[in-house]
Amino acid sequence: MTDVSAAPERRIVVLGVGNLLWADEGFGVRCVEALGEGWDLPPDVGLMDGGTLGLALVPLLLDTTHVLLFDAVAHRGEPGTLIVARDDEIPALMGGNKMSLHQVGMNDILASLELLNHKPAHFTVVGVKPVELADYGGSLTAKVQSQIPGALQLGIDELRRWGVEVGERAGRPERDVVISALRQGRYESGRPAPDVACRLGDERFLAIRAAAQDRGDEETGGPGA
């Protein structure tokens, strides 16, 4: 099905996506940042802050054999809980009714990779269900922040299953994943006070999200962590 089987070399990318400026939306990028800070990975394993690039991520994922994605995911569990999904468990999409908050979301990226005959042989998502999205200019909520070590462990377990040597960082310089001004410590220490920064969402927009999450909460089953 894919060109990957013909490619002798592995090419692994660890990707964090989401918007650092929107509370728990920053989860994916913060995970990859923490991975680069605290863990030692072989240089050929790419660590990437994918931001909210949408379809523009496709060229960066072409020719990969393994992708480990950290992201905020509207899954069925409680807000703040983790989920792991692999390959076919990640909805191969849509039929007209799937969408992310972005029109071009991760599902479209996966479909595009498949159309290009470049779907990675292994694709794993480690996600957290966000608690708060509306706090523009905010940072991770305490509950989601507390899930980062667990999410990293799930990701590291997956990398090890793929044959990647992962150790605690010692000796090698830390990986530069996020632009220094946006790294979590610096970002949070420079935040304006809540009464200065208007941390509001669009009520209608948030209602759509809440309704979608309520619908999800009523269902059971599905890929779980």
Binding site: G51, T52, M94, N97, H102, A181, V196
Partner: protein, 597 residues
């Protein structure tokens, strides 16, 4: 009941109301409402940005030298343009001059973005308004090959190539997936291409996606990282060391050679795939040369960009033309002063913000961003609006005006300004395309098709300019100048107690400017007026409508339930509404809807 707007349009909201929310294949969130008459012709249009973006507010108190990193996150895709506007604004405020190489490298990164962004827009966001993917499944691969070879020498054109691709596409669609092709009005009678042209275009859709992996390497080489490159107040962050071998970070000869070869391939792809496709597709849609003009025949603006030499941002030094056309007077291109308090102003009479006096506009230096989500007499509730009340507030987008005029910005504005200024590199290719389409008059530019054609021409222009700038960089380096940054005034101890400045950029989708106010070494106020704010703006207190609303008027719709015509015109502007969030959805909530009332 019909009313006349001060900028020359007739609005009538008595007919059926059609609500499209959200508009798909764009970045961010846009809702369009129109009223159609008994013949399904659009007689009123209402453009609503449905997401709050408060980036300006969260920059308060930050280090001005870091602002570029934050503004890169305003938008998912156009990260580079915001970073560039930001470093220029800080340099303008603090009177920091940059070295020639830094200017040239910024031009190279900017032109690379143009080449990539226009390509992505045409194939991945706009083409599907003209190309019917499902029809491609019934194409004859041999005839497709003949068609492709008749319009271009591009080598990927054999019957076998198109057959393989068609099989892959069939398998994909038969597996129940539509992926990026969902939300299409496939089979809509307004699709006019024969199946073979559809298959050829789908093939190029995929090739363009694949080709981007080459283009982005240029940003990585000069920006030190991708997808969010590094920027620097005072220059560019990448040192140049021609003799370095394999050194981390430095731009060496090996890397420059790679850049050169990517540029050559980019030119080849654009001139042998994009442009022939554009002309071939346009040939089937000549009626769209008379639809969707909106403000474009009367009110156009470009700040200009790409300084030939460093630190001179005056009109005469900019390779991309600068100026404003008002009241349809094509004989006069007026200059723009971005510091003048009475030129660029933003109004919030119809936007969800609060000003002390809502009849007045504010220059961005005096700009305020205080939300006020009041929907006036809209039908429905605040969380479920059935139809907005355009006589009240109805958008998160403000209404920017230039000397009181609503303006259209983007490639069409730049091409018309370049054309009427008589600049050959804009005029000649435009005349060539008009001739190739069978001698359509120059007024055909003022249309949805004209907007799409101008973007294609500009993409080719940018790729060739990219090569020129690259050659300039090499020549300057070989002459012994390797400076890339001026750190003289980088330290805050050298700054005045208060300073303010602006940084303008012509982004691929139009005019962008950031205004910064620095006090005690911190950001006191930061305001961005982005291209889509100009084009998607709601009405102003005088009742003048913005570019999207104007362009939708008088468009005949085949079926209001399937608003393909609205997508065509809105997509021709390349909308980008400050996208902010992104969540992978495992539930499949249907949000896209079309309501006809």
């Amino acid at each position: 009941m019909s009313i006349a707007t001060p900028n020359g349009f007739q609005l009538d909201n008595s007919g059926k109301r059609v609500v499209v929310d959200p508009i798909t294949r764009i970045e961010g969130h846009l809702r369009i409402e129109v009223n159609v008459d008994a013949n399904n012709v659009i007689r009123n249009a209402v453009s609503t940005g449905t997401m709050w973006r408060g980036l300006e507010v969260i920059l308060r108190g930050r280090d001005p030298r870091d602002a570029w990193a934050f503004v890169q996150r305003i938008c998912g895709v156009c990260t580079g343009v915001h970073a560039l506007a930001s470093v220029r604004a800080v340099e303008n405020a603090l009177k920091i001059e940059i070295p020639e190489n830094a200017n040239t490298i910024r031009n190279i990164m900017h032109l690379t973005l143009y080449s990539q962004d226009h390509l992505v827009h045409f194939y991945h966001l706009h083409a599907l308004d003209w190309v019917d993917v499902v029809s491609a499944l019934s194409a004859d691969p041999k005839a497709t090959s003949e068609l492709a070879q008749s319009i271009s020498s591009w080598p990927l054109s054999s019957p076998g190539y198109f057959r393989d691709l068609q099989n892959r596409l069939k398998k994909f669609v038969e597996s129940g997936q539509l992926g990026p092709f969902r939300n299409g009005y496939w089979g809509h009678p307004a699709y006019k291409l024969p199946p073979e042209a559809n298959l050829m275009a789908v093939a190029h859709y995929l090739e363009a996606l694949d080709f981007q992996k080459e283009i982005v390497k240029i940003q990585t080489i000069f920006g030190g990282r991708n997808p969010h490159p590094n920027w620097l107040v005072g220059g560019v962050p990448s040192p140049i060391n021609l003799n370095a071998t394999g050194a981390v970070g430095a731009v060496n000869m090996e890397r420059l050679n790679l850049v050169g070869s990517i540029i050559d391939r980019t030119i080849e792809f654009i001139d042998n795939v994009y442009i022939p496709d554009l002309i071939a597709i346009a040939g089937f849609y000549k009626d769209w040369a008379a639809i969707g003009g909106g403000l474009s025949s009367k009110y156009l603006m470009s700040y200009g960009d790409l300084p030939k030499s460093a630190n001179d941002y005056s009109a005469g030094n900019l390779m991309m033309p600068r100026g404003a056309i008002v009241d349809g007077n094509l004989g006069e291109v007026q200059d723009i002063d971005l510091d003048a308090l009475d030129q660029v102003q933003e109004f919030v009479t119809h936007s969800w913000y609060k000003y002390g006096d809502e009849q007045q506009g504010l220059h961005p230096y005096e700009g305020e961003t205080v939300p006020n989500f009041d929907i006036g007499g809209a039908k429905g509730t605040k969380t479920r609006v059935e139809a907005f009340d355009e006589s009240a507030k109805y958008s998160w987008v403000k209404s920017p005006r230039w000397k009181g005029h609503a303006m259209e910005v983007g490639p069409l504005a730049r091409y018309v300004i370049g054309y009427v200024k008589g600049i050959p590199e804009f005029k000649e290719p435009t005349d060539m395309v008009l001739a190739k389409l069978g001698g359509v008059p120059v007024t055909a530019l003022f249309s949805t098709l004209g907007r799409t054609a101008a973007r294609g021409l500009e993409c080719s222009w940018a790729a060739h300019k990219l090569k020129d700038e690259f050659n300039k960089l090499i020549a300057n380096i070989k002459a012994g100048d390797t400076a890339t940054a001026n750190m003289d005034n980088f330290e805050p101890s050298t700054w005045a107690k208060s300073a303010r400045g602006h940084g303008f950029v012509e982004a691929p989708r139009g005019s962008l400017c950031h205004w910064i106010d620095i006090e005690d070494k911190k950001i006191k106020n930061y305001q961005c007026v982005v291209p889509t704010t100009w084009n998607a703006s709601p009405r102003d207190p005088a009742g003048k409508i913005g570019a999207y609303e104007a362009a939708l008027l008088d468009t005949p719709m085949h079926d209001p339930e399937q608003p393909l015509e609205i997508l065509r015109t809105i997509h021709s502007f390349d909308p980008c509404l400050a996208c902010a969030t992104h969540v992978l959805d495992m539930e499949g909530n249907e949000v896209t809807s079309v309501q006809v009332r």
